[in-house]
């Protein structure tokens, strides 16, 4: 509540397009007017109303002061840093922006923010993980605001079958920052005559959550307990042959490879990791974090479970996947759901899934020319139809023969090369070895994306001879970052050029 009864209460709202910031602003004005106060609101919609953030600004002047003074207040049209009583943010990074603008101050500002994220295009389009750190915003919010009301209001909107603006309005009411009774807020919703029931439900949830303010964070879980005989034996093997800190990762790896291929393949995974763990135990890591084993274990599992046609067909046809799609698209039980896959397998991918000799035959010049037209355009595969389901199931059924395929041979050779590099580097250049392990994250995806990843990976691996010590590891990490900076590989070119011949760049 404003400390000074003869001054306006100032309130800023930051909302993204489509979050109902305008409706929220209207409700607040209506609640103020219903309480007999003077309210003024304005907004800066940003560039049109397309996806950008809109900032609303409201001033509420207490009626008693106006009456006592018998004059009209002069109300401002924009917030002044340090002079804002309430900031409402409909998304966490927008709360961060308000904090940076200085309009959230510890002497008076109540910050009501949703903690959910609507990712910005820079976060979404990164070639790896470009997500901004929400914890940093929360930490700043705790130091910047006098009172902080923060929870996932988007989820609360879903729970209450309402919308985020209603939850925000409820949370604002629950925060007690404005001198209105709950009934006044609810009347404002009722008077707007839009989705009144749903909005009141959202409001109520927001109100209660703000009252009993609690920040809750979900924690990611590790692998489940083994259930099959093979699973139990392999879990026991991990426990007896590897240090404890590595267990969560290796269990996930074993589970993934059992699912991907079979028991022997999971054993091969552990066979490959054993020398790495042994090396690490002997020498390298003074911190005993077994970072090298963990990183190698993580990427080895992903690499060994490379995505081929067999794997994709297997994943696409599973019953649990059908269920997940149903949930994701929110189909109700009485609705019928048809699912079409957008696939564009090229001849090479099909050839790779065949026994090596046959795959090579398919890729021969004549066959390529003959078959190429079949693979020119993408196709929609209706996995919920019996015919297409059978087609995909047939591909999935090739799994037992995977070891004989062309692609299998290629990938195993690359994997062995990578593991050799790790083993050779680890004794003398531990830090560099960890980065070599991590460089495998570049290899992912399908088609061109996969080819680009392999190319970048190999270019970086070619430089490893130049790299020594902690500084060398940092350079390696930098190269990996550069490879993920742009698709054309310009950043990687520059970074490698600087490594090979630092002089021209230094001179420039």
């Amino acid at each position: 509540m404003s400390g000074n009864a003869t001054r306006p209460i100032t309130l800023a709202i930051s909302a993204l397009g489509g979050q109902g910031g305008g409706v929220l602003s209207d409700w607040i004005v209506a609640a103020a007017e219903r309480s007999g106060h003077v309210a003024q609101a304005t907004s800066v919609p940003g560039v049109a109303q397309r996806t950008g953030a809109t900032v609303y600004y409201i001033e509420i002047f207490p009626q008693p002061a106006r009456r006592a003074s018998n004059a009209d207040p002069v109300l401002a049209l924009m917030p002044v840093p340090g002079d804002v009583d309430v900031v409402v943010a409909a998304e966490l990074m927008e709360a961060g922006r308000a904090i940076l603008r200085g309009i959230v101050t510890p002497d008076r500002t109540t910050l009501v923010t949703s903690t959910h994220r609507v990712y910005a295009v820079s976060e979404k389009s990164a070639m790896g993980d470009g997500i901004a750190d929400s914890d940093k915003v929360m930490a700043a919010a705790r130091t910047a605001a006098k009172t902080l009301v923060a929870f996932d209001m988007d989820a609360a909107g879903e729970t209450s079958k309402s919308v985020i603006s209603a939850v925000l309005f409820g949370a604002l009411a629950g925060s007690g920052a404005l001198p209105f009774d709950r009934a006044v807020y609810e009347d404002a919703i009722k008077a707007s005559r839009m989705q009144v029931e749903a909005n009141l439900a959202g409001f109520a949830l927001g109100f209660e959550r703000a009252k009993g303010q609690a920040e809750t964070q979900a924690v990611a879980s590790g692998a489940s307990e083994p259930r099959s005989a093979a699973g139990k034996r392999l879990a026991a093997r991990v426990q007896s042959q590897f240090p404890a800190v590595t267990h969560p990762t290796l269990m996930l790896g074993v589970a993934k490879l059992l699912d991907y291929q079979d028991e022997a393949y999971a054993d091969l995974y552990l066979d490959r990791l054993q020398p790495v763990a042994a090396l690490e135990a002997q020498a390298g890591d003074p911190r005993l974090s077994y970072l090298l084993t963990v990183e190698t274990g993580r990427y080895l599992a992903l690499w060994m479970a490379y995505e081929d046609v067999i794997r994709v067909a297997d994943l696409k046809t599973r019953a649990e996947r059908f269920q997940r799609v149903r949930e994701e698209v929110r189909a109700t039980p009485d609705q019928i759901l048809q699912v079409s896959e957008f696939m564009h397998p090229r001849l090479v991918e099909v050839a790779e899934a065949m026994p090596a000799w046959f795959g090579r035959f398919l890729m021969s010049g004549t066959m390529q020319r003959l078959l190429a037209p079949l693979f020119k355009s993408g196709r929609q595969v209706r996995v919920t139809s019996v015919r297409d389901f059978l087609l995909l199931s047939w591909f999935a059924s090739l799994r037992p023969g995977r070891r004989e395929t062309l692609r299998f041979a290629q990938e195993q050779a690359r994997i062995e090369g990578w593991l050799t590099a790790i083993r050779e580097t680890a004794p003398s250049q531990y830090d560099v070895a960890v980065e070599i392990a991590a460089a495998a994250r570049l290899i992912k995806g399908y088609g061109d994306t996969h080819a680009r990843g392999v190319r970048n990976f190999e270019r970086i691996m070619a430089e490893r001879g130049r790299l020594h010590g902690a500084a060398g590891a940092a350079v390696m990490a930098n190269l990996i970052r550069a490879a993920l900076a742009d698709e054309a590989g310009k950043a990687l070119d520059t970074a490698i050029l600087a490594l090979v011949d630092p002089a021209p760049l230094a001179a420039a």
């Binding site: 003024q40 049209l77 002044v80 840093p81 979404k124 046809t317 698709e487």
Partner: protein
Amino acid sequence: MAERSFAEEVEKLRLGAGATFHGEGILAVTKALLQSGVSYVGGYQGSPISHLMDVLADAQGLLGELGVHFEASASEASAAAMLAASVNYPLRGAVTWKSTVGTNVASDALANLASGGVTGGALIIVGEDYGEGSSITQERSHAFAMKSQIWLLDPRPNLPSIVDLVETSFELSEATNTPVMLELRVRSCHLYGSFVAKDNVRPDFTPAIAQNNPRRDVNRIVLPPASFQHEREKVAQRLPAALKFIKDRRLNEFLGGAAGDAGIIVQGGLYNTLMRALELLGLADSFGRTEIPIYVLNVTYPLVPDEIVGFCADKKAVLIVEEGQPDYLEQALNSILRRADIQTRVVGKDVLPMAGEYTGQVLLDGCRTFLEAWAPKLIDAATPLLRTPGEPTAEIRALAQDLPPRPPGFCTGCPERPLFTAMKLVEREIGAFHVSSDIGCHLFSILPPFNIGATTMGYGLGAAAASAFADKGARRAVAVMGDGGFWHNGLTSGVGNAVFNNSDNVLIIVDNGYAAATGGQDLLSSRPGNNTKSTNHPITKAVRGVGANWVRQIDHTYDLQRMKDTLKDAMTTKQSGPKVIVASSECMLNKQRRVRPLFAKAVKEGRRMVRQRFGVDSDTCTGDHACIRLSGCPSLTIKPNPDPLRPDPVAYVDNSCVGCGLCGEVSHAAVLCPSFYRADIVFNPNGWDRLFDGVRRGVIGWLQSMANRRRLARAF
């Protein structure tokens, strides 16, 4: 049909004397026009004045009752030229647009209008799109007022002041035979407040009367010798008349204290921000009461020398609070005081920034510096309301690098997105080419993830801006233009120009059916019906009409392969002359507004309906996000990877997906990955649906359970 319906607002326009109007600033202006007995209104939509146009478009009934002609002008130039009706006849007219961009376009007509002068009141309402939230060049409308001698009003930002000044401006215009421009900043246009209404006034003189009793006066036409006479009239008659009117009617206000060494002169529109700054310095109260003398310029052109001299004479210094540059007012003040031989110091841009919006913080700092120098006792005695801000904490400082910018972008399912995806794909095949952008939603292509487009030279000028790239041997330049820009002037300045000059360049016309960026207003080529305007005039017809031969019409822009092939063909064909691709798919924002209620109604009635939407399999997505880089759809986003081994987030389609199909097309055309799926959700399935579905689910379910048993046998 605009993005919003204004049925409720139209009712507010009917309010009679004594009723209280609650609403937005720009709607208050609209009401004020009707209270002023305006005969005709025109304009061109654009933020922040779009709502004036939209509400009048929805108010045909009321306008008919009042005998007011309303026109959605083809351009600002058309709107300004419309004011010619007030030259010979006592007709009150008003036009509106976004400024300064609209004023640039209108200035030819404005100059001619202001030269000959007007008989009936002529008012130009400009939405001054300056400062935060602006999307255009940062310039001032002030220059146009000065150069053509149009009186410029800048009312205090509260609804009663704005409404009063709109009404007065017609009188000012008529008393001085000069058009008047009323400037409203973005926040004032969107300002919610209230004022006490008056009755609407039905104009006595109508365009019909003029049409049946035409008048002319050769002295009002801009041609020698009248044009020389006009200039003399401006200085000898119209200006003195304006100064007298402004003084007599006290359009400028002397507020605050009567005496003191230091005073402040402020543009009306900045008054509230100034008062808040003084309040926070402890020098004013919430009602604007202060000891400091304040001279409020509700008229910023012309300045009234007598008033300025009177205000400044007893002061050591005055602060001029004038937003933007050049500092026309500051220069004028100095000139006026110099002529009067008054030594009062004019302080302005030396304590306030030369460029940029004058926010509360900016004025607070500027006023403090000014008063510390010129009224130190006053400021020493005051108790500021704000504590001096401490250094931001380490946590807050750490945020600065981390907050991702949030540039505007194409809406979910936007039909323009595939054009730029196609450009990116064609670029991979034939190499990079120069792209000339235009004004409109499609300009978002210059931002991530597309990063396409080199310049934007103005509305409808995309093609013209590529015309220097005419080398026949080099790679062709591509220009993009919206249907809005096309009808605004691009047909002649772009297509006609290219035909005439034998250009080989490629022009993509984005035909989404509306002036989408300004709020979805109808155009000549709009397809859904419009009761009051003539629409459905195809762009291809116009383009062929001015002589373009290579013209391709694409009716479904989401067909990426076709889009890509057409563009590649345009870039490589041997045929000479401009290559025009008209890419037509309805603006998704408007389409959803139209279609969604119909869908919901049909479902409610129990009819069989199919909704399509897309999804990404998080199992097979490896988190490279190439799909996002080729799309940028808001509904195509990311989420943490459900596989704890994988570090990179997976792509994810949220429930706002409208099923436009682009992501599927992209994964086909760019050979991305097999993760995209389309879900067809059948609402209210019929008997056949259920039968087939039952069979399919039975067979597939049985196969799945077998596969599942085999897998569990080998699972963890």
